[in-house]
Structure formats: C-alpha cells, structure tokens
Symmetry: C2
Subunit: 470 residues, 2 copies
C-alpha cells in the first residue's frame, strides 16, 4: 500500500522533528531479529512490543543512522528514556537534542528520578530553560502538553516582512507554522493569522489589519481533556496556551490531541471494565503493578458482593422451604447487573463526550425509566416463557409453576428497571460528588444491583407464593 | 479563558471552511432561547444538545449571518442535513455550498434517501462530481473519509514557480496545504514536500530534487481505524489516499482522525458495556432504536444466563441438603464475572491500540494465568476470612464452618482463575474467527463464566463437604 524507495537526503539530526513527511514503514509480518543483520525500521517497529528492553536496544543499534533517527522520533517518552539511558554517555547528547522541548520534557518525566538531572544537562541552554518551564506543569494539563516554540510576529509588520521573517524562523526550530501568533511586547496574544492566509494576502498589508482578534485560547492549567474538546469542537489545527496574565506560553497541536483522546478513552474503558487505569500499554506494565491495579477493585467488589451472602441468609428459610427459588437467583441478579452495566456505560461515555451534562439528569432519568420498564417487560416475558415452556416439556417446577413464572416475570421487571435506573444515575451522583463518573463501572453497578435484586426477588416471591410454595 | 472581541471582517461564505482560526466561543451557562432575541453562537452551542429539531432551527435562524456560518461549519453531518432540509428551497443552495466536498458527502449520507438527489443538485458541477465519487466509498474507509482537494504540483516546477502556483491554489478551495503532493500526468503520486520545506528552500531548486519519495500512503479501501493508526504512529498531519492503480484520490487529515478515534473508542466502550454501538449521541438516538440495540444483547445474555437455572437444578439436591451453600452462589459467580470482565476489557483495549496482536496469544495467556491465580488467592483468602470472622462474631454456619470456608476459598481460586483466562482469551478467539474482539463484553464474559462458576463451586463443595454437610 505504500511505495518504498530509500531517500538519500534523509534529514540529519539538526533538522527539527515532526515536520518532515516520514518514510514508509508499513509493518509486515517479519522474522526475528537474528535473521536480519540489516534490520530496517519497519521490521524493528513490527516486533518492538514483544522485545525485552535489551533486545530493543540491540535492535535499535542495528538500524542504519537515517532509519534510527526516524524510528527514534516515532517512539514514546518511555522508550526514549530507556534507549537514551542505555547508550554510553558520549552518545546520549545527540539523541536527546533530537527531541523537541515538549518531547524532551516527557522523557525527563518518564526517566527514573536519579537520571533526570543528567538528561537535562545534555540539552542546550535555551532548550534546558524551556524544558524546566514545561516540567513545572502537570503532565495532563495544557502547559504539560504544549510546545513552547511557535511562529510569532509583531502586529506592525507587513505581510511581506512577515513572510521573510517566518522564512528565517522556519529554518529554525518551530514545530508547526500552521498559525502565526501576533504578540505585543509583553508577549500578550493580540491576534492570529493562518499561514495560509498570510500566503495569499497582499504583501504590503499590515499584519494588524489582517489578523483575527477573536482568538480561542486555553489557560496553561486547563485539563488535557478540556483542551482536546476545544480543539476538536472548533476544528482547530492548534490552540495557543496563555498564562493567567494572558501571556502566550506555547501551542497545543492537533497531533498532541490524538494521543490525549486515545489516552482518555483507554482510561475510561479500563475503569468501565472494573479496574484502575493501567497508564501504560498492557504488555509493558510490570506484573506486580498490574496486579495491584486489578486486585484493588476486585477485592472492593468482593467485599460489596459479600452483602449478597448476608441478604441470602436473611431469606434462608424461604430457600429451605422452596429450593426451586434458589435456582433462579443467578438469572435474576445477573439481569439486573447486565442492564445496569449497559445503562452506566452509555451515560459515562455520553458524559465524557459532553453529549450529556449534569443538568440533563432529569432528561436521562425519564428516558432510562422508560428504557428500564420496556427492557424489564421484554426480559420478564422471556423468563416467564422459559419456565412455562420448560414445564410443558419436562415437568420440573410442580403444580405452582405458573406462580413461579409470574414471580420470575415480576422480579425481572423490577430488577431490570432498578438496575437501569441505578446504572444511569450513578454516574451523575459520582460527578456531582466530584468523582470520575467512569468509576461507575459495569462490575461496580452489577455489585450494587445484586443485593437489591435479591431483595426484590424474594419480596416478589413472598407476595406471590405465600400459602402455596412458601 | 479566551478574549472575545467581534471580528468585523468575518469570512463570507465564499471562504473555504476550516482554514481560518475560528472565533472564540467558550460555552457559558446560558439562559433559554426565549430571553435572547440577539442570540450568539456560543449561547446556541451551549443549549444545542437539549433542543428539539424545531427549536434548533429557530435558534439557528436567530443568529447573525457571520455567526451562523461559523456555527454551521462546526456542526456534524446529521445537524447539517436537518438544518438544510428545514430551510426553504431558495436558501438551501448557499448553505450546501459552504461545505467542503467530504462534508457535503457526509450530509448526503445523513439525509433521508428521498432528499439525497435534491441536495446533490444544489452543488456546483465540480463539487457534485467529487461528492458522487466520495459517496461510492463506505463511510468508514479511507475513501469515505478523505478530502478530494489537496495541493498538487508537477515534479519539474521550481520552488519559486511552486510557491506562485500554490498561492493561486490557496486562494481557491484546498482545505489544507500542510503537504504538497507531486503527481505525474496519470495522477500517480511521485513525492511529497511539506509546505514548510518549500518555504525555506532555495527558490531556484526543482521540486523533483527536494521532494521526498519515501511516501506513506493508504489505499482508498483501507478501514478508518487502520488509517488513523498510520497517521498517529508516524506523526503525520495528513496521509495521501491512492487507488489500486496508485493514482492519488485525496487526503485524510489529522482532524478527521480525532473524530475517528473518538468514534471507535465509543463503539468499543458501548460494546464492552454490553450493547450494540449506538452510532449517534445518546440523547439524539430515537428511543425505539436505542431500545432495540440494548434489548438484543440483554435478551441474548438472559438466554445464556438461563443455563445457570439448569445448572442450579442439577445441584438442587445439594442445595436442599445444605441451604447454606446457596448463600454464597452470588458471591462466587460474580467474582468470576468481575475478574473475567476486567481481563477481557484489558485485552480488548490492548488489541484496539495494537499493543497486543493475535500472535501474542501465548504471552497473554501465561501472564493472565499468573494474574488469575494471584487474584484468585487474594479473593479466596478474603472469602475465607469473611466466613471465619463472621462465624466468630455470630455463629451462623454451624460446626463445619471451616470446611465451608475452605470450599469458598477453593471455589474463588478456581472461579477467578477460570474467569480471568476466559476473559483474556475470548477476544483472541473472536478476532481469530473474524468477529470484533470488543464483542467479548463484560456482561458476555460474566454470563459465560457464571455457569462454569456454579459447576466449579458445587464440585468443590461435593469434594470437601461430602460426609459432613452433604
């Protein structure tokens, strides 16, 4: 699917990263490292995830220089840190300096704390200052995401002067020049011109006359999820980041946002699945740390689920009198759990995408009450039919099978409606209390609904079966 | 967080969309429509999701023209179709022509089939042809995502000629000129130059000499998930789309990819939560269609869960003899379900992000066997303690409580290990069979594990309690 020819003029380490169209590296099913003394970046990328740190390092050193640079720039911060620290001190500088300041900051964040100063010292003075400033921000806020290098202009330049000036800036170290930002002497953001506009304007016009002053910007302490929403909602290529005094600090670009969106979706999915977010690729997480993140939630759920044993003990007499009641316990409570998981998953995702906000509570509640009742009728009818048909085929449930079928119908209706309501409203409660709604995970909701499901089931049974089975 | 001043030179409808830095529209908590005869785009955006179609239409017509255009361009295809079809025929043309060809194609896809021809007829001939070509592709493949307008050059131009030519193209209708593509006379892709490179090169050089020939491209029938992976893996701003004969058809840009990533994550989350993907924002989906997507999965799960009633019936004698066994049924089976959901969620997400591939099966299996055993030990120990401590406080379980505690320990160990293995391996099986691994949803895995959990529990009980409780 892509043409592969080698490029003799591949950019050297002095070229700023991520501005060149990278070479073709379609992963193909490839043999192991040993059979490939002349390893290509595509082959290494293909096996990267399954290599040990040592094998990765060896593979990386087998790459031709041009390939190695391109491959290096595609890696994430954790891999950067691992590779650079694996190299002899004399070789570290050139790789560290290949990185844009925001990427260098990420590497420092990913590196063990005892190596941070050493890595920082490899950078030139200007980058060192930029990186130190970036490290003051949390990783998940705009300041921690931004690139401090952007194309800037003064408002009194003409289009022609601006193009000449940008030509010189472009040779330097600006990552993206899709937009050009117009700043005053205090570095306050006055306006913005797209590169493309600049390009198609009359060269004698003043920047002040063509710049847009209606600027969308984000504060440096804004959370990355909000930044990503602003960029994608407004269809921006980049958004300027300003501090509390409106001084421009950097830009967050669309490509940063793709990673943020993936990362936030992964966190949500893992929470919905009933665990703490792993925060790293599955095969890269240490076994012990993964276990900890999984065991915590499972233990909490088990403790919650212990209430079912207590609830069941409360109905021990009923079970002893009519053992047949016990047979439907898993069916009833799992239906509550399933409908609850479904509803909570829907609402959690809708909240994450801002399709649903706190004030939509009543709208969602009405909708889910309707859905819960309808789903409960459907599942209840299926449960009813199961017993009636089974009884017709092999008489199992005795003469009162019709009452038992009605008990199952009524319980499913109640349990599914309750599960749906709980699942859909719990994310609202969590958000209102300041927690992440995604913590209303499928297993959490299921556990919560299980106990109530038992109570509903045995209550319906008492009402319908008293005098016959009970 | 953003400065808000109005822009007297707001771009008119002839300006191509999505190239201008849009104006500031930070949503604020806003009152209802009625109190705002002079409605702003920010206010309308804020209430948009909770308005009925008629209210949306009224709100849209209340906007000043400049605001209306900006607001319109930010909307999705469904909203575009609804608004345009709500307008009198005479006004439809100007709005339809505001859209880039790929957006216009999306509108046609979103519109009711009886209106498609009518909407297509509103476009100018060139766009009409482009849109028709786009409509031949599925929505979720590269061809359905791409923009057919891109900056193109011949290889024999000089940098200076290229810049002049692009200046004219830029005034026209190209959405992005981050990259310039070099095509031969058959429209086959020869090379690519970044706009920024062009800008900083010696004006007399030939394009052929500076273009990169190592091009990453995607085929027009590639799935959007693969396209998005290629773009983000290689840190591209845009990727060229070529047909089977290597002719360039369009480009997919980074901003298309942000939507794809969101969309695919939402699909996965909804599947993991146990339902068909909704395919539209929660509050926008018609109640009936939402019910259908939810009831299908819930009914299937209920049918699966009916096997638990059958399994329980098989152990009816044991339950009659030792009712106390029934008390721990929900605890045991839910632990299997929870550990299974957790494992499947982890593996599904890792597969979606390509952190794990089919060939990693054994690696994952080993890791999850270890995790399952460790988690089973932890949960088993908690279950054991629950019974022993409970018995010490209020003697509930009779003289054989220790054997019961051991039964619960052994069952939890078995059930959690089995649940974890099932949950982690099922996505592999599904993918191998050509299904979406995300169908191995938490509830699906839980249901599968429930029946086995019962069998494990009653088997362990038979072994340990025969002669005492049983």
């Amino acid at each position: 699917m892509s043409e592969t020819t080698s490029d003799p003029d591949a950019p050297g380490p002095s070229t700023p990263p991520s501005s060149e169209p990278p070479p073709p590296m379609r992963p193909t099913l490839s043999p192991t490292l040993e059979t490939h003394p002349g390893l290509s970046a595509a082959e290494l990328r293909d096996v990267w995830m399954i290599l040990t740190p040592d094998e990765r390092f060896d593979g990386f050193r087998l790459l031709p220089r041009g390939d190695a640079e391109e491959f290096f720039l595609e890696l994430g911060a954790r891999d950067h840190a691992e590779l650079i620290l694996g190299l002899p001190s004399s070789e570290r500088r050139v790789w560290m300096r290949l990185l844009a300041p925001d990427d260098a900051a990420d590497v420092l964040q990913a590196a063990p704390s005892e190596n941070k100063d050493e890595l920082l010292a490899l950078l030139d003075t200007r980058t060192k200052n930029e990186v130190s400033a970036l490290l003051a921000y949390a990783e998940d806020e705009a300041g921690g995401l931004m690139n401090p290098r952007f194309a800037r202009l003064r408002p009194d330049a003409t289009v022609d002067e601006a193009i000449g000036y940008l030509r010189r800036q472009a040779r330097g170290r600006i990552e993206t020049i899709y937009y050009v930002y117009v700043l005053d002497e205090q570095q306050r953001l006055l306006g913005v011109v797209s590169f493309r506009e600049l390009f198609s304007m009359d060269p004698t016009q003043s920047i002040r006359d063509i710049m847009h002053t209606d600027i969308i910007s984000v504060r440096d302490d804004e959370h990355q999820e909000a930044v990503s929403r602003i960029i994608s909602q407004h269809g921006l290529q980049a958004v300027p980041v300003v501090d509390a005094e409106s001084r421009m600090k950097g830009i967050v670009t669309l490509d940063d946002i793709v990673d943020v969106v993936q990362e936030e979706a992964t966190e949500d999915i893992q929470k919905v699945g009933g665990m703490e977010a792993l925060g790293a690729p599955y095969l890269n997480v240490a076994f012990g740390s993964m276990l900890k993140k999984r065991a915590g939630w499972l233990s909490a759920l088990l403790l919650g689920e212990m209430l079912t044993a207590t609830a069941m003990a409360f109905f021990e007499d009923e079970i002893a009198r009519a053992v047949v009641l016990a047979l439907f316990v898993p069916l009833i409570i799992s239906s509550g759990g399933n409908s609850g998981s479904q509803a909570s998953t829907l609402v959690i995702r809708a909240m994450a995408l801002e399709e649903v906000r706190l004030r939509d509570l009543w709208r969602v509640a009405r909708r889910e009450l309707g859905a819960g009742l309808a789903l409960g009728m459907i599942l209840g009818a299926l449960g009813f039919l199961r017993i009636v048909i089974w009884q017709a085929v092999t008489p199992t449930y005795g003469e009162h099978y019709m009452l038992l079928a009605l008990t199952v119908f009524g319980s499913l209706l109640g349990v599914v409606t309750f599960g749906t309501m709980t699942g859909s409203l719990l994310p609202f409660v969590l958000r209102r209390l300041g927690f992440d709604p995604a913590s209303a995970s499928a297993p959490f909701v299921a556990t919560l609904v299980d106990v109530t499901g038992l109570v509903i089931y045995f209550t319906v049974a008492s009402l319908l079966l008293r005098g016959t089975l009970l």
